[in-house]
Assembly symmetry: C2
DNA sequence: TATATACTTAGGTATATGGCTAACTATTCT
DNA sequence: AGAATAGTTAGCCATATACCTAAGTATATA
C-alpha cells in the first residue's frame, strides 16, 4: 500500500467525521500507535481501525508497522490542498463583493450627476 | 427554515461531493437560481435539489424564493470555520516540527561536546 | 514454550447517501 | 382560462458508512 490517488472528495469525506478529526488533532502533536490513538475513544478497536483506514486512504496520514506496533503520523499535503481550495473560494467571493461595491458606488455617483 | 446549527461535520460532509463543490465554485461568482445552477449537470432535477438542500443545511449557502424562482447565494462563515480548523492543524504540525528540529540540533551540539 | 500484547480479518446490522421516475404545486405568460 | 415554467414532494433502489462481536495472526515477554 502506498499508491493512493487522494482527491478533495476523499479528503473532505475523511474530515467529515469527528472521531477522525480528533485523531488528526492528536497526530499533529506527534506520531502515535494504534492503541495510543484508540485509547480516548469509547469504541471497539475494529471500528476505530476503520477510521484510521479512511484517514490513511485519504492520504491525510501514513503509517508504518514495526514489530507488532503500527505508528501513524500526519502528512500535511492533502490538508494543504483542502485549505487551498477553501481559501480560493473565499477569496473569489470577496473579490466579487469588492467589484459589486465599486459598481454600486459608481452608480451612486452617476445618480448624483443627474440631480 | 433558518435555524440550522451547522457543524464542521456537516460542512466537510457537504464539501465532500464534487457536484456540491462545483455549485459552490459557481456561487462564489454570484447568486444563481436553481435551474441556472442545475444546467451544467447531467442529473435529474430532484437529485440535484438534494445537493442544494445539503449545502443549505450545512449553512454554506442560503436561498430565498421570489415568485417561482429560488435564488441561492454563498454564506462565507462556515467555509471560514473549516479553513480555520485546517490552518490550525497545519500550524500546530509545523510548530512541532520546529521544536523537534531545535531539539535535534541541541542534541547534535551535545554530541560534539563529548568528542 | 506458554502467555500476553497489538493489531487484523471476517462478517453482520442499521442508517445515510446519491441517484432515479412520476406526479404535484405555485407562478407567470398568452 | 389554458399552457408553460420553476421548483417540490413522494417513494423506490443500490451502495456506502459506521458501528458491532468473534475469531485469527504475528510479535514480544515471562
Amino acid at each position: 500500500m502506498a499508491n493512493y490517488s487522494a482527491t478533495l472528495d476523499h479528503t473532505f469525506q475523511a474530515l467529515a467525521d469527528p472521531t477522525r478529526r480528533r485523531v488528526l488533532e492528536r497526530l499533529v502533536q506527534g506520531p502515535a500507535s494504534v492503541s495510543e490513538l484508540a485509547e480516548p475513544f469509547d469504541m471497539a478497536l475494529p471500528s476505530f481501525l476503520q477510521h484510521l483506514k479512511v484517514l490513511e486512504q485519504s492520504a491525510l496520514v501514513r503509517s508504518e508497522k514495526v514489530g507488532r506496533v503500527r505508528t501513524f503520523h500526519v502528512v500535511p499535503s492533502e490538508m494543504k490542498r483542502a485549505t487551498h481550495w477553501l481559501s480560493l473560494q473565499l477569496d473569489l467571493w470577496e473579490r466579487r463583493l469588492d467589484q459589486l461595491d465599486s459598481y454600486l458606488q459608481q452608480l451612486a455617483l452617476q445618480e448624483n450627476d443627474h440631480e
